[in-house]
């Protein structure tokens, strides 16, 4: 009785590099220029682009790695990686089942998802104060 993985599936499809990565890098350069001169943040959705798996790997190599790698746990793992080019970030959003939700190149000082929200800061202060009150009430 053969196992599921023994069933041969041979897919002959387009492989290799499509040449789209060069165009993409040029676009990133333009966006980075806008960030540098006008302070304007922007992003590129990688899922909407015709990139082969080889393209993606090549793009990763070309962009390289920077100083920051952050893991955000919000209804599933999200990863924020700074590339070798300051201001250019590779952001991957996955849901709780580890399925890819969105993959973006963000050109910005810091991706929005890393920032703490204003209203949540106010809520946190309230909670912390309550926590301190409780501590004091229990006392030595």
């Amino acid at each position: 009785m053969s196992a599921l993985q023994d069933i041969a599936v041979k897919v002959i499809g387009p492989g290799g590099l499509s040449g789209n990565v060069e165009a993409l890098l040029h676009e990133i350069a333009t966006l980075l220029a806008a960030l540098a001169t006008e302070g304007r943040s922007s992003s590129i959705d990688l899922q909407g682009l015709p990139l082969t798996p080889a393209d993606r790997e090549y793009l990763r190599q070309r962009l390289g790695a920077g100083e920051v790698r952050a893991l955000v746990n919000a209804l599933g793992p999200s990863e924020v990686r700074e590339t070798a080019y300051r201001g250019v970030w590779w952001v991957t959003h996955r849901n709780a089942a580890d399925e890819l939700c969105a993959e973006l190149i963000e050109v910005t000082p810091v991706p929005q998802i890393l920032l703490a929200d204003r209203q949540e800061i106010v809520d946190a202060l309230e909670r912390l104060r309550l926590c301190l009150c409780d501590g004091a009430a229990r006392g030595p």
Partner: protein, 352 residues
């Protein structure tokens, strides 16, 4: 009963973090094919949007569409839409029952008249004056007509609500009709499928919440963002179709090699849905990937469109001529492949 506050406030009260919300907006923007910069705009307008009152009316249905949407126990990116809306009436899910539930529905309609979203699943039987399906003595026909009056928009969820579905199949004993047959003066969005892909339902609701308008619809009233391509257009087995490699039975060499299922009745070429890209069960698989041809469940009258296991006749869709050529080439290649296969099997048998 009034939907309290904005969507942003509702999420905050339910403990959904801002980061989770931003992630949801990024995923929605990507899924709807909007530019990624739109995610920030979506987040801003969605957080400020008044939390809409939503009324869900289940009619002549199997509850599969509700099941498709509500299978998660904790908030996920896909199900967050339910944290954003105020589901003021859903007969199957409601804790209340009987008169208390009916009163809740009437109150929701009255207090949000002109502003609520009406979600419908199941077809509506019109035979015997609508007697075939009644809730609390009120026929589905009457209930739909009353609820539609004050609805800002109506989403017909599932093929039964969108096109009549299984109840409407020959001989249609209950006189089942789709929502659009009874409601003609309100915008109706058809989210077809048996059931529809859950995240597609979410995407449609998210679009409506964010932009306050109905998304762009095709000729059958389905949102183009999800129903713009046929399964065939995005099928990963397309290279095999193009090369004329078809499985002839469900367990032959071709089937085991993952070849095209056209000859086993796949209705992919004439079916519009997002199954080939978005897939099912959190992107696990879809019928063709699991070895069975597409049934065409998001199309009208798919139950009556001929054998599920008989190939689409050439000429029923625009690539008819190409198909004939491909099939002929496929037959030749297939015959050759079968011959090779038989020789190989004979060789293996001889070795034993």
């Amino acid at each position: 009963m009034d939907p309290q506050g904005t969507v942003g406030e509702a999420l905050r009260h339910q403990g959904v973090s801002r980061r989770s919300f931003l992630k949801f907006c990024a995923a929605m923007a990507s899924m709807m094919g909007l530019p990624p910069d739109a995610a920030a705009a979506i987040a801003e307008s969605l957080a400020k949007a008044r939390r809409p009152s939503v009324i869900w009316l289940p009619f002549q249905e199997c509850t599969g569409c509700t099941e498709s949407l509500t299978r998660s126990n904790s908030p996920t990116v896909e199900s967050m839409i339910f944290n954003m809306i105020s589901l003021d009436y859903h007969e199957t899910l409601f804790a209340a029952a009987g008169e208390a539930a009916e009163a809740a529905r009437e109150k929701a309609i009255k207090e949000n008249f002109g502003r609520y979203l009406l979600l419908v699943d199941g077809s509506i039987p019109t035979g015997l004056d609508g007697a075939y399906s009644c809730i609390g003595g009120v026929s589905n026909v009457q209930m739909l007509q009353e609820a539609a009056k004050g609805a800002a928009a109506i989403v017909a969820i599932g093929t039964c609500a969108a096109f009549g579905g299984l109840p409407k199949a020959n001989p249609n004993p209950t006189g089942a009709v789709p929502v659009s047959a009874l409601v003609t003066d309100r915008p109706v969005i058809n989210v077809s499928g048996c059931p529809p892909i859950p995240v597609v339902i979410t995407g449609v609701l998210a679009h409506y919440l964010t932009f306050g308008s109905v998304p762009e619809l095709d000729a059958l009233g389905r949102p183009k963002a999800f129903y713009g391509d046929t399964i065939h257009d995005r099928c990963y087995r397309r290279p095999f179709y193009d090369q004329g490699k078809f499985a002839k039975t469900f367990d032959d060499e071709g089937a085991r090699s993952g070849w095209c299922l056209y000859e086993l009745g796949c209705k992919g070429p004439v079916t519009y849905n997002a199954c080939a890209t978005v897939k099912w069960n959190d992107g696990t698989s879809f019928p063709i990937e699991s070895g069975h041809g597409c049934l065409g469940c998001s199309e009208p009258d798919f139950w009556d469109k001929g054998d599920f296991y008989k190939a689409l006749p050439t000429g029923t869709w625009s690539a008819g001529r190409t198909l004939a050529v491909a099939a002929a080439a496929g037959a030749a290649v297939g015959a050759a492949a079968a011959a090779v296969s038989r020789r190989r099997q004979a060789a293996i048998a001889k070795e034993k």
